[in-house]
């Protein structure tokens, strides 16, 4: 009663003013408005944009919670204060309050900045342009904290979010009109603008940057560092994480991308609710496996030996690629973004396959940009309309041919 009534009266109060869209958005965020249309007929399905967005957020929550535990776990393991996990996904060393609280207090500000700034920009544009607030940022705001390193300075995040929302989305006309995935635009901006904070072996574990600075100033504490697996492989270092660690996600990486298991569950949930496209997910996985397998064959044929700088990633077993880095996260939550992906079913297969294929190619051939999946998805976002165009044209041609055959 209380909250809904309050929101409703607030909305009535600001009706017709410049600020109206902002209050409309708050009002309809979780509730259906009281009024019904009396003019023409409107068909409105229950799964409107807000409900769709909320469903994706539900699928992301496990990754977020896991990310909080993992942030603490990585910190304490790297600092040598606790032992590495040995006994499976429900290890008691991992799910401790100590781990969680460190991650929670570190990730909460990132989450708040992401939502605060992003929604601020959206509300601002809605008020200036005089349209309703679109819900596009709800998912973006949740994705952003999951795909950045834990030690990212908050002001950089502010700059990147403003850039991503304005340049990535609002200039094209807002939610539904954007060419590039806004969350990935934000990450790409961070990656190219502040590369020292987005790659290397210092940013993935909480406190590593701080500790390096202390040591430089004469502290005797042990250094903390944690390379991502991709980073190690790109430099042909050995990796001492087991496949199970990679699958469960007990590895350093961006906050929410490490646990392939939880991403898999989230993906299944999205497929079950018919919000994520299984065609894109499946074809991306196939694309990645094919490219990885080709590289494995190249290594097996002896064309690339361990003196080559590509050896580390090329010789990685092809299915490991799905477990490391942001591959799984990108495929499940980013590639399937309904706005920027291909719309046609055949187009989705092509789009997804190329994302997987190109991701692995970028990973292997450009160790400076180890996270190929980000660049691959952005690239395919640009090509998605072209793919759709040819799929549609192909269909038109085929049907014209059939029609001609009939009449002839």
């Amino acid at each position: 009663m209380g909250l809904k009534q309050n929101l409703h009266s607030l909305r009535e109060k600001y009706k017709g003013t410049k600020m109206a869209p902002a209050f409309n958005a708050l009002h309809t965020f979780l509730y259906t408005p009281n009024d019904t249309a009396h003019g023409g007929t409107h068909i409105k399905a229950a799964d409107d944009l807000k409900r769709t967005m909320n469903t994706v957020i539900m699928a992301l929550i496990p990754c977020l919670i896991f990310g909080m535990f993992n942030a603490g776990y990585q910190h304490y393991v790297a600092a040598g204060e606790i032992e590495a996990v040995t006994s499976g996904f429900f290890s008691s060393e991992f799910w401790t309050l100590q781990n969680f609280s460190l991650g929670f207090w570190k990730i909460l500000p990132i989450l708040l900045v992401s939502y605060g700034v992003g929604l601020g920009v959206e509300f601002l544009f809605a008020v200036i342009k005089g349209h309703e607030v679109e819900e596009g940022y709800l998912v973006t705001g949740m994705l952003v904290p999951l795909i950045v390193p834990i030690d990212i300075p908050l002001w950089m995040l502010v700059v990147a979010v403003v850039f991503g929302v304005v340049i990535g989305k609002e200039v094209f006309g807002g939610t539904g009109m954007n060419i590039l995935n806004p969350a990935l635009t934000i990450r790409a901006f961070l990656f190219f603008a502040y590369p020292t904070w987005m790659s290397g072996d210092k940013v993935w574990v909480e406190g590593a940057v701080e500790r390096t600075r202390e040591i430089a100033n004469g502290s005797t504490a042990d250094a903390i560092s944690g390379e991502t697996i991709l980073g190690s492989l790109a430099q042909s270092h050995g990796v001492d994480y087991s496949v199970m660690d990679m699958f469960f996600g007990f590895i350093p990486g961006s906050i929410g991308e490490t646990s392939t298991l939880l991403i898999l569950l989230g993906g299944l949930f999205l497929i079950f609710t018919k919000i994520g496209s299984w065609r894109i997910m499946l074809s991306s996985v196939i694309g990645a496996l094919v490219m990885g397998y080709i590289f494995n064959l190249v290594v097996a044929a002896g064309w690339i030996t361990d003196t080559s700088k590509f050896y580390g990633l090329m010789s990685t077993e092809f299915w490991h690629h799905l477990l490391i880095g942001g591959m799984a996260f990108g495929i499940v939550y980013m590639a399937t973004d309904p706005v920027t992906a291909s719309q046609t079913n055949k187009g989705k297969w092509i789009y997804g396959f190329l994302i997987g294929f190109i991701s692995i190619m970028i990973r292997v051939f450009n160790p400076a940009y180890p996270e190929g999946v980000m660049l691959a998805i952005l690239l395919m976002n640009v090509f998605a309309p072209t793919i759709d165009h040819y799929v549609v044209q192909g269909n038109v041609k085929r049907r014209l041919k059939r029609a001609k055959l009939k009449t002839a």
Binding site: P153, W155, M156, I167, F189, F192, A193, Y194, P195, W197
Partner: protein, 214 residues
């Protein structure tokens, strides 16, 4: 504007704003992206183009009645090429390091669409004095955008202006860097120049709605 008639001053002022070669006609983009990572090359480029375009316009305009229209492009090319070589040699002689920095882009002024465009659209049909003003105006409009873009890219990308560390020293962490500020590496990459030009276009068109085309 006592010196110039109203019509003449329009020739100079129009391309500075409402008919800007970069933001309205979208010409000469390539060099605007390539050399604007810093302010100094942007300004040198702007001056070079002012010289080439104003002198070139006068030369073409003087010859406009004797150039056979079939070979006019070749004649225009020879005129630009001559002027560009002069600029290139002068830079090499007096500002060698800058000429290194600008590398091929001085030579590529030849292919700058603004120059051939003005020759074709204006100098071939107008008297030398008007052509001269038109050349100054268009090149200055081009240069103005270059300098704006160069200003923001150097300030945000390297934290300097003309090489002076206006935001403090990024290595020794003084000034803004002491409180954790860092240079935006994206700013020095060419894509960001495109985005900055886009932002200028956005600002300009939202201030003057008549410029918005469908």
């Amino acid at each position: 504007m006592g010196l110039l008639s109203k019509k003449d001053s329009k020739l100079i002022l129009d391309p500075l704003a409402d008919n800007n070669p970069i933001t309205i006609q979208v010409l000469g983009i390539c060099s605007a992206l390539a050399i604007t990572a810093q302010l100094k090359p942007s300004i040198v480029m702007a001056i070079s183009v002012v010289f080439v375009l104003s002198v070139g316009n006068v030369v073409i305009s003087l010859m406009r009645n004797i150039i056979p229209s079939k070979i006019r492009i070749i004649v225009q090319l020879i005129v630009v090429a001559t002027l560009v070589i002069i600029v290139d040699q002068v830079l090499k002689a007096f500002a060698y390091s800058l000429s290194k920095e600008l590398s091929v882009f001085i030579g590529l002024i030849i292919t700058n669409c603004i120059i051939m465009g003005r020759f074709e659209a204006f100098a071939l049909a107008n008297k030398p004095w008007q052509s001269f003003l038109d050349g100054i105006g268009n090149a200055a409009g081009y240069g103005l955008i270059l300098i704006i873009v160069g200003f923001f890219r150097e300030l945000l990308g390297s934290g300097t202006l003309f090489g002076f560390k206006v935001l403090g020293d990024s290595v020794e962490k003084t000034g803004l860097y002491a409180i954790g500020y860092e240079n935006n590496g994206f700013m020095v990459l060419p894509p960001m120049a495109l985005i900055v030009v886009g932002l200028i276009i956005w600002v300009q068109r939202s201030r003057n709605k008549e410029l918005i085309e469908d």
